[in-house]
Symmetry: C2
Subunit: 330 residues, 2 copies
């Protein structure tokens, strides 16, 4: 039995591994074509893993594709743990189409929620107005509409949405959640379906996109969406760039629908140097970095170890992705 | 029986007043020497109120002193409701010394907590670093130390401190509270006394001053306080300027103790145009405005009406200030 991961990932978990069946081999990748077992190189065709961990460093160093390729070529392949939350990349569809189980990660959820709240609060509370009066040495009041009286629309209610909700509700906001399932919890004031979206947008002061990208959600924020937004509202996108029709967003900003946007994701990444977002005065750009708090690697490793232990004894995996989430029929 | 308030305050509550005893007169002040009953001017010496409401507009228009003077001159004076949270102004001591009951207000607490969280989060989450990379059109990651892993020291745990705590805890921070009472609640991880302050400061990433100003707390943040702070920490003062030795703060900023400060209050207000705070790169200045969300007038009026109803039937007042809080012996 082989378990495949990057060399860096192995360094992070080797002292914390659960008891492995006799004969289990850890195969590590230091480069796309450099696989080793116990420090000795092995031929690529000898890599036939049963399980693989696509850790966060694999996404940063370009090792995801080589690791996924080994799994797809392995007759023994059974389970992949990814450190990503989104699973819309083609490799995940290939993995699940091959009958390999896939579990994703919520390790990024809490820093992403911190990003959402920090950006929303720093726009709702008049920090910019205070900065302007300070620059002019003016002792002047800066009244504002209280956060506690704002209404939020949260599109998507997975791990990220729930972390956003927990923090936003502590401020007393009114929270509407849009999701497929009608199921809700005590943090949510109202749960709506996609069909009700345009009727809720005119009342939402803050709209947060935190859903998965799939055929259903692609281009969800289109011209009709922005046309229905409350003038003065704030848009925050931590989901995927392709959720947004970026031409329609630009037109919306001209009408204050929304008045401001904090965007961490874009249809094309890295964002090209000539993209209009960079110097738009109503737009905040960040580099798909909202989840990069310093705790995500530790949480990701802890999740992999927990799921590995579960996998080995046949217990249900945490965060296992359902085939229907990728549009696969069972 | 006379009840005294400003003309503006009366306009806000006249349709919501509880049933008043027969013969009760509402005396309103439109200017320091212009008192009216039912729209007709009355001589200042004929103003002998039993109760007075020092509403928020009275503080903004200079009517607090004239209203307080009428109460202090009135043989019938029994109760004053103030819209302020702090009661360190000399008039409050005079009022309580005269045996008049005083109740203060928590109407500002929730916007003040919004101010604290907005400023703290916008410094902890790398919004400024993101702004800098955006200005350079650079697609670059901005890693950071997660808010959920920070430790906070909250000095003062009245209405404001508790509202700060409720919001900060939703982010998972470790919360230490410094207060006179050893009593605590489920939001607080640790409660300390003043004697333990210097031993906790070296571990606090965020320090919030939200306590009353009195002989005990004046100059609490002195050279020893800043010398004990964790380098890189954030200081937020929404209490009173005189809690801080401003010379010691300036020296501390040079050593990153604290690295940044958000100050809403100052020893001298309005802050003089030549004060060093205005253009200090590590300091955010606001104009004693942290509580000025658009809900405070409504909350203040609701509290006055509730307390007036209680006063009239002899029920305990909400937020009644104890004589010992002003250093008065019973």
């Amino acid at each position: 039995v082989q378990i495949l991961m990057t060399k860096d990932a192995w360094a992070r978990v080797r002292d914390r591994m659960p008891a492995l069946p006799t004969g289990t081999q850890i195969v590590t990748a230091a480069a796309p074509d450099l696989f080793t077992i116990d420090g000795s190189p092995v031929a690529t065709q000898a890599v036939r893993p049963e399980a693989a961990w696509l850790s966060s460093d694999a996404f940063l160093t370009g090792l995801v594709q080589p690791l996924a390729d080994r799994m797809l070529a392995s007759p023994a392949a059974r389970w992949v743990q990814t450190s990503s939350a989104g699973v819309e990349m083609p490799i995940f569809r290939a993995i699940m189409s091959a009958g390999i189980r896939l579990s994703n990660s919520s390790a990024l959820a809490s820093p992403m929620a911190e990003y959402v709240l920090a950006h929303a609060l720093s726009m709702l509370v008049p920090i910019d107005a205070q900065r302007a009066t300070q620059a002019k040495r003016e002792w002047r009041r800066t009244p504002y509409h209280e956060v506690g009286a704002t209404r939020w629309l949260l599109v998507g209610y997975g791990a990220i949405g729930q972390e956003v909700a927990r923090r936003a509700k502590a401020f007393g906001v009114h929270l509407t959640v849009m999701r497929r399932a009608a199921h809700s919890d005590e943090m949510v004031d109202r749960t709506i379906s996609r069909a009700e979206m345009l009727s809720v947008l005119p009342e939402a002061d803050v709209v947060v996109l935190a859903c998965a990208l799939n055929d259903e959600t692609r281009g969800l924020a289109d011209a009709a969406f922005f046309g229905a937004m409350k003038p003065g509202a704030i848009l925050i996108n931590v989901g995927r760039g392709a959720l947004v029709d970026e031409v329609a967003l630009r037109a919306g900003l001209d009408r204050d629908q929304p008045a401001r946007a904090a965007l961490d994701v874009f249809a094309t990444e890295p964002l090209p140097a000539d993209a209009w977002f960079w110097d738009h005065p109503q737009v905040r750009v960040s580099a798909h970095t909202s989840g990069l708090g310093d705790g995500y690697e530790t949480r990701g490793a802890t999740l992999f170890l927990e799921n590995l232990g579960r996998y080995l004894i046949g217990k249900p995996l945490l965060n296992e992705v359902a085939r229907q989430e990728l549009g696969l029929t069972t």
